[in-house]
């Protein structure tokens, strides 16, 4: 029994009002979704469009669950969920506010100072302010506690030296939440870490360089800190509590609809290419994929409901991400067997270009946000095996 109780998913709370909101979001998308390349929706939250983010902010769809005094809208996690999934399913360009809305804002709310919250949260909610996550380093990926970027206490603040790697959207962000070593690790290896709120536009000594992915795209970066000075007021939360803060943040990062909708654009184009009366084999494949999506959606909404209720479903979130990314990676493999076409990004046929983009992005789905093996390790911990 115990083994299952740790991984229990409460049924998502019924929420009929959310359907009213869904209709509003769809009407908004019908009017405001910018014309763009169909491949922009591939991989979830890929497209970056400040204008679009501002419009969403004006609708009250960023920071939806936050207190009104910080520019939020005090709506429920399930309403927020509706907005997220509608945006992703339509391939909307949401990366300008995605990380801030999902992860950095909630972290600020939990551990930020009044001053930090007042100055930043309303700007995020307005779609004016974007964030990136400075956790990984060249020698610290899965083993995040081993980060070496160091913040040394100096007069009035800290001096930072080190290199962050794979930092998505650093080149387009206003702020980074930076995980640094400020002290000794201690026996548990998790001590001595601190998070900082780094103003990327105003801080000297930071160099951001593109790292192109295998598709030749520029999403992530190398960020080098060389004697960068951070004022004392930029410490986020407690000095030395970085590890606890980071792990709390990850439950929010792992269970959302972006963890199973990254290949959804391809599924739509596959359905279009198959036409209204496809072969038996194609029907079976399509029905199976959608059965998986139904189920993932329920599991993911369940986690949203548990987060709303104040629980910490970190292990459930890991499980949803593991199942979701497995499906996302399967979709291109299945699609290519149903339509006789060679993936080609330059093709004029939507299915063919989307297939090409999805295929080349797919390896990242089970790496970003914690690798498959690390997630399964967390699930095993939930089962009491570690």
């Amino acid at each position: 029994m115990a083994s299952i109780d740790n991984l229990r998913f409460e049924p998502p709370p019924p929420f009929p009002e959310a359907e009213v909101l869904r209709a509003e979001v769809r009407a908004f998308l019908a009017e405001h979704l910018p014309k763009r390349a169909i491949t922009e929706g591939v991989g979830s939250w890929g497209g970056h469009d400040r204008d679009f983010s501002r419009k969403m902010g004006a609708c009250g769809w960023i920071g939806m669950t936050w207190p009104k005094r910080y520019g939020g809208h005090e709506r429920s996690a399930l309403e927020r969920y509706v907005v997220l999934e509608e945006m992703l399913a339509s391939g909307a360009p949401v990366s300008g506010h995605w990380v801030a809305d999902r992860q950095s804002g909630p972290l600020l709310l939990r551990v930020g100072t009044e001053q930090q919250k007042n100055s930043i949260l309303p700007r995020i909610a307005a779609g004016e302010c974007s964030f990136c996550i400075g956790m990984s380093e060249p020698d610290s990926g899965s083993d995040l506690a081993s980060v070496r970027t160091r913040a040394a206490a100096v007069e009035g603040g800290f001096r930072v030296n080190g290199t962050k790697l794979w930092t998505s959207n650093a080149h387009r962000s206003d702020y980074m939440i930076l995980l640094c070593r400020t002290g000794e690790a201690g026996e548990q290896r998790h001590g001595g870490l601190t998070q900082f709120l780094v103003d990327l536009k105003a801080t000297q000594g930071i160099a951001i360089r593109p790292v192109r992915n295998l598709a030749g795209e520029h999403h992530f970066n190398e960020v080098v800190f060389q004697d960068a000075f951070l004022p004392g007021a930029s410490v986020l939360g407690e000095v030395g509590s970085g590890w606890q803060q980071v792990t709390g943040e990850l439950a929010f990062e792992r269970s959302g609809p972006e963890r199973f909708l990254s290949s959804f654009t391809l599924l739509v184009e596959l359905t279009r290419a198959l036409g209204p009366d496809p072969s038996e084999r194609a029907r079976i494949a399509l029905g199976r994929i959608v059965a998986h999506i139904y189920t993932l959606r329920r599991l993911s909404r369940s986690v949203a409901g548990m987060l709303q209720a104040g629980a910490n479903p970190a292990q459930q979130a890991a499980l949803v991400k593991d199942l979701g990314t497995t499906l996302e990676q399967e979709i291109p493999e299945i699609a290519r067997q149903l339509i006789d076409a060679e993936p080609d990004r330059a093709s004029t046929q939507d299915f063919v270009t989307v297939l090409a983009h999805t295929m080349m992005n797919a390896p990242s789905f089970s790496l970003r946000g914690g690798t498959r093996e690390i997630l399964r390790g967390m699930i095993a911990r939930g089962l009491g095996l570690r």
Partner: protein, 351 residues
């Protein structure tokens, strides 16, 4: 989840725990009927769980009643509980009183059809049906027949039918029944058609599979904690942990899919959630059973070990009331016909 549902499930867990011990499982596996278990199920009102209170039933709402089958699946309840519930649902829809004893329902396979014609004050049946659960052992077979372009629910006596006994991989009776010329004195027209019956059967098997996967997960985790090789519990090896994490994911997915179908079935048996549950739980059954056996090694491959009570049921149930391919073909066909631009709408509308 309603509070009633939690209470109902807790009580059911206790009852199943008490009546589905090792000895009963061994004896029923050999073909014996679990009389004491059956009396307990009847007394608790579970067998009549889908019969309305006014008709002498338990007065549970449909979702609470169906969720009993998750618990039944967890305990591999070796009796026709689901089948008798299904019979109760059909009989109630036709306004026919719910008889005592275990009941069977026919037909259960796509393509099998029974027809009925009036015969004096009663009805006469024609048709053969395959793999009817528990037909020979049932007190009555509830037949859904076509009659005058309508759906007729009739009660047939197993003794009047030509029955060739068979079994699924779990040893649960699955009999071929020839109804040709069988006379029924009790019958009434009703709304449910063969498709609705098939859907409700699929929800039931999905619920049972979800329960069986939960049990298989618990058994496997427990075993991995206890079995020692190379000087430590095998659950300490990362390869084993990763496999069990996959099994946990499959159990969680099957449970979520079954719960969604259980909720949907109460108001719409044709909801895509039903197809999704049978597809998802059926896929989880194969993956989950394989991992459970891998973790257990040779001991799990023996008749003595209890693991097979669950895994043989998983291998059977996934093919009953339509396998994954059957439901996926239907669901995929509907989605393709609706078109690419309605795909997301179809997903969110399922709830």
């Amino acid at each position: 989840m309603s509070e009633t549902r939690d209470l109902v499930r807790e009580a059911a867990e206790r009852l199943f725990e008490k009546h589905c011990g090792a000895e009963i499982m061994r004896r029923t596996d050999g073909g014996e009927f679990p009389q004491a278990l059956w009396c307990a199920l009847t007394e608790a009102g579970y067998t009549a769980a889908l019969v309305p209170e006014a008709a002498g039933g338990a007065g549970l709402d449909m979702s609470d009643a169906l969720s009993l089958l998750v618990s039944a699946g967890r305990h591999a309840v070796p009796a026709p509980l689901a089948e008798t519930m299904l019979a109760g649902w059909l009989l109630s829809a036709a306004g026919i009183p719910f008889p005592e004893g275990p009941l069977a329902v026919a037909p259960v396979r796509e393509g099998d059809a029974v027809t009925a014609s009036r015969d004096g004050t009663g009805w006469r049946l024609q048709g053969k049906t395959g793999r009817v659960p528990w037909a020979a052992r049932a007190a009555a077979i509830v037949v859904l027949a076509r009659c005058e372009e309508r759906n007729l629910v009739a009660l047939a006596a197993p003794g009047d039918c030509r029955i060739v006994g068979g079994a699924n991989l779990a040893g649960e009776a699955r009999d071929d029944v020839d109804f040709s010329g069988v006379r029924c004195s009790v019958g009434a027209f009703a709304a449910p058609d063969a498709a609705a019956l098939r859907s409700l059967g699929a929800v039931m098997r999905s619920a049972q599979m979800a329960g069986a996967l939960q049990s298989v997960l618990e058994t496997s985790v427990q075993y991995a904690r206890e079995r020692v090789q190379f000087g430590r519990p095998i659950g300490r090896f990362q390869a084993v942990q990763q496999n069990l994490a996959v099994l946990a994911g499959q159990a969680a997915a099957a449970t979520a899919a079954a719960e969604a179908a259980i909720e949907a079935a109460a108001h719409n048996l044709h909801s895509p959630a039903v197809a999704a549950a049978k597809i998802r739980a059926g896929e989880a059954a194969g993956i989950g059973a394989a991992i459970a056996h891998q973790v257990h090694g040779a001991i799990g491959f023996t008749q003595e070990h209890r693991l097979h009570y669950s895994t043989r049921r998983l291998w059977s149930w996934r093919d009953e009331f339509g396998n994954e391919a059957y439901w996926a073909r239907r669901l995929g066909g509907e989605l393709a016909a609706a078109g690419a631009d309605r795909l997301w709408h179809g997903i969110t509308a399922a709830g």
